[in-house]
């Protein structure tokens, strides 16, 4: 059996990776422990949110599947941060946990060049630091040019509740016992991480009258730029909000030593942004209550996800804790909360293409790289898939820059800075977030998707048309003026903006914070799609800031231009501090910009490195 690409693991990273390879017409095999669990959502029943929602649009812009698939599975959809400005708005959807995997599997199965098989990979077939394929548990050897590992939390995973600890993956799946040892043997540094998930409650055992109703937006939003409405936005499922109380906190405090975390049963490092409820109660002891969301998992079954209540307490304590909550006094727990520990590799051992530095043609994506979140996984998955295919095609890898995509920020952070706890994207991680908006992901990335062959001609033509429309509307507004006539000024004052003294272009008028596009349409008639109007409005209103961000980005790119040769020997550079030498040697940054971002590498070290590189250039 010979494939061009083998993808190990059918989670969100694996789906995007295998789709990208197969769509680029490379013979691809997706290996999974259980076909039924492909594209499974083992934790929260939602996709998107701040930063993450933008990643979903980026995946869509590049020709990935997550956006479209989330649209198909949407139970409720909401635009977040609408009042906080254009840079930080993002979509978040509650996604049906039955529909999402089902639709994804359908897509995978109908994609030519893609084969799906069940099988647990035990070993990697490596010769001379180059991958040749994988060896399954039953000894079957499958050869391929490229292997992409997207094994999620399954590497040596252990499930923890209280002092109970057993080997296994999420959803009672088998875990992978030997793969991480194999990686270790080949020189990879292995990290032990931890995450957790809250209990699931039987829907009809909850008294929702004691909870606050949380509904979606009454607008048909979609993640995908194809804007196809797969779901009925008039029939959205509600979520509910409740709070913990003193009783809950007392139960937790009294039983703290029974939790896996506080009982000392966990060795892995948990994510800071996803603390367990016992963590919240201990660390923020002055808070009288913590907020919890009741979220539907699917319309096809009864589970309600208790967001904010992840815990590693034993089952009996979980019962007490849940029953202390308002409306959940008589609740039935369908699945208990648990913590999970798993192995990951230090992502600083990866190139920006997501190929490992140690083993040629071996790529990794998703939680194995120390991230958390479906969106972060999928974002890496599509990049690993694209770059695996490009490698086969002997082409340069696609590396998105920090000023081009959140996916770029994510991969750059991982590969240059490494991680301490499971990595989650936050808008604050992006220096140029005004450039990385959810509304312009297509303008930023569709061209890349088209160039690598994942975006169709039709989709690309649509993009070009959108660009032309934006230019033409801007042109129109810049060339249409209003003059200080009485009725005009009267109208302006009526909409709470100051009267004009000289003639002013409509474009300049639109720059005023009080003026919206419908005010402009008072003076001019035009017919453009809404997304075109949105772009023009944002460009007009925030143009100065956008330019400033672009200037900053250019500065960063200048440092990025200063390449560090692959064969540089840091030990031979005099005067660099030994800590910096060690870090540089370990991470081997490609550029001075990356070197400067490494903690422990000081400006003086960068200055010396810069001088050394210049000298080298002269000597050559």
């Amino acid at each position: 059996m010979k494939y061009e690409v083998i993808v190990v693991g059918g989670g969100h990273a694996g789906c995007e990776a295998s789709l990208a390879c197969a769509r680029k017409k490379h013979k691809t095999l997706l290996l999974t422990g259980n076909i039924k669990n492909i594209a499974d959502m083992p934790c929260n029943p939602s996709i998107g949110g701040p930063a993450k929602g933008i990643v979903v649009r980026e995946i869509d812009a590049l020709g990935g599947e997550m956006g479209r698939n989330a649209d198909k599975a949407a139970l409720q959809i909401k635009m977040l941060n609408t009042k906080k400005g254009p840079a930080v708005q993002a979509l978040r959807a509650q996604a049906d946990k039955i529909v999402y995997p089902k639709e994804m599997l359908k897509t995978l199965q109908s994609t030519p060049n893609l084969e799906i098989k069940e099988g647990m990979v035990e070993h990697l077939d490596i010769k001379d630091n180059k991958i040749r394929g994988v060896i399954l548990q039953d000894g079957t050897k499958i050869t391929s040019d490229i292997v992409i590992l997207t094994t999620g939390t399954y590497l040596k995973s252990q499930i923890l509740t209280g002092c109970d600890k057993y080997f296994g993956g999420p959803h009672g799946e088998k875990n992978s016992k030997f793969l991480s040892d194999d990686l270790k043997k080949n020189g990879f540094k292995i990290l032990r991480l931890k995450t957790g998930t809250p209990p699931r409650i039987k829907k009809d055992s909850i008294d929702f009258t004691q909870a606050q109703l949380e509904t979606g937006d009454n607008i048909c939003y979609t993640f995908s730029f194809d804007k196809k409405a797969y779901y009925d936005y008039t029939k959205q499922e509600p979520c509910y909000l409740i709070y913990t109380n003193e009783k809950t906190h007392n139960i937790i405090k009294e039983n703290l030593s029974k939790s896996s975390m506080y009982g000392g049963y966990v060795e892995g490092v948990g994510p800071r942004y996803c603390p367990s409820i016992e963590d919240k109660v201990v660390r923020f002891s002055d808070k009288e209550r913590h907020q919890l969301f009741l979220e539907p998992e699917s319309i096809y079954y009864d589970d309600i996800y208790l967001q904010g209540f992840s815990t590693s307490m034993p089952h009996d304590i979980q019962e007490q804790m849940v029953h202390s909550l308002p409306g959940l006094q008589n609740a039935t727990i369908l699945k208990y909360a648990y913590a999970i520990e798993y192995d990951a590799i230090d992502p600083r051992q990866l190139k920006a293409s997501l190929e490992t530095k140690i083993i040629e043609n071996l790529f990794t994506a998703g939680q194995i790289n120390g991230t958390s979140g479906y969106e972060e996984a999928a974002g890496q998955g599509i990049i690993a898939g694209i770059n695996a295919a490009l490698k086969i095609e002997h082409k340069e890898p696609l590396i998105l820059k920090r000023n081009e995509a959140y996916i770029g920020v994510l991969i750059d952070d991982l590969t240059t800075k490494g991680i301490k706890d499971p990595y989650r994207l936050l808008t604050s991680r992006a220096e140029y977030r005004l450039l990385l908006r959810h509304d312009n992901a297509d303008l930023r990335l569709r061209k890349y998707g088209y160039d690598v062959g994942l975006i169709t001609e039709k989709q690309y033509q649509d993009l070009l048309e959108k660009k032309e429309n934006i230019a033409s509307l801007e042109e129109k507004l810049k060339n249409t003026y209003i003059t200080p006539q009485k009725d005009i000024n009267k109208y302006l004052e009526h909409v709470n903006t100051s009267a004009i003294k000289d003639r002013i272009s409509l474009y300049d008028l639109l720059k005023r914070p009080e003026i919206e596009i419908n005010n402009i349409q008072k003076f001019i008639t035009f017919n453009y799609p809404e997304d075109v109007i949105e772009q023009v409005t944002i460009n007009a209103k925030y143009g100065g800031y956008i330019e400033k961000a672009q200037r900053e980005a250019r500065k960063m790119l200048d440092l990025e231009q200063k390449q560090i040769p692959d064969n540089i020997e840091y030990s031979k550079i005099p005067n660099i501090a030994s800590e910096a030498k060690e870090k540089l040697e370990q991470i081997r940054p490609r550029t001075l910009r990356q070197a400067a971002m490494i903690s422990g590498v000081n400006p003086s070290d960068i200055a010396i490195l810069m001088v050394y590189l210049k000298k080298g250039a002269k000597n050559d």
Binding site: R272, L434, N575, N602
Partner: protein
Amino acid sequence: MNDTIAAVATAVGVGAISIIRLSGKDSIKIANEIFTGKDLEKAPTHTIHYGHIVDYETPIDEVLVTVMRAPRTYTKENVVEINCHGGINTTNKVLETVLNHGARLAEPGEFTKRAFLNGRLDLSQSEAVMDIIASQNNDDRICALKSLEGRTTKIIKAYRNELNDLISHIEVNIDYPEYQDIEIITKEKISQKLTNQIKELNEIIEQSEERQSLKAGIKTLIIGRPNVGKSSILNSLLEYDKAIVTNIEGTTRDLVEGNINIKGIPLNIIDTAGIRQTKDLIEQIGVQKSLDLISQADLILVILNGNEQLSAIDQELLEKTLHKTSIVVINKSDLKQHINIESLKDRNIVKTNTKTPAGLKDLKEKICELFNMDKISTLNLTYLSNARQISIAKQALDSLKQALNSLKNNLPVDIIQIDILDAFNKLGEIIGITYSEEVIDNLFRNFCVGK
């Protein structure tokens, strides 16, 4: 950085001992070649040795030599310090000998530069050392030393932490929009916080600039009609205080004639050389030019002849200097006085004559009073110690002002945050933090969020 550098490490002509410092891999070898006494190449690190410096058997001076081996030295290189007798001739002769045996004369600040490049100092520490080298009086030295101990770093860190609290609060609202328990920071609150931060940074900058001008020297203009005694007062001041450090070179050369140090206060006398040659400022270059000089000066000594009545020119000079820091010096007080003191009652007045030194002493004291070093020293030294730091701080201040302005113009919080973050990062540059996860760390430390 492969060569060995040498320089006189102490102030020339001051003190009983001069130190010649060598740094570089050959510094011990070079010192050994010109040293009679113990074999320095075998000397353990951080030891002092008695002997003589000889230049090819010609004895030059009796010395103590300190041997410090890399890396535990200031520059992290081999360092030798030769303690010789003070005095310009001996010192120069020892330095020459060192240079004749293979060392190169160090450029100003080169030891510090090496310390920096060898990773011994961080950016703000090495700037502080440069300041010590350049500092001209004791008070500045204290400031520079404080900075060395990370004083600047501490101030900026504390200030940045406050800013970080504001930033993380805004960020947590953005990244966790549905946390109803986390207070949504209102525009009013941001505005209030920004106003305070702007005020605070403004104060830091203002104090720093005040210090900058002190460090550079107080630009002092001695002005008056011909023959009122300008030259004699200048000469007496020079005579009185022997501590003329140097004629300042470089950028200020064409402005400043001399540098007088009065009780630690450096006075830069604005060039009146031309005036003295041509006898009179007012006649030769006109009132307009003298007014230009007045506007540039930090201190103006208006010299009047007490023996004569105030002339129209005197009146004009008095008027033009009314709102400047100025001292009216009524010279020739030993002669019959014709000036109505009552008309000058709002001014600082000192009476002098060339016969007795009392008047000059009064003048000195008046200057000290006006530039009260004691008062300045008791300020809590919350200032930045060089021009680069001040300039970056000003950029940060501009960004904060811009943020406040955007807030008033009702721009959304993500736009306002751009300028606040900009200020935060700029301030990081002062203390050499180019990249950090502080915001994210602070966010998770202070807010309880998560699924």
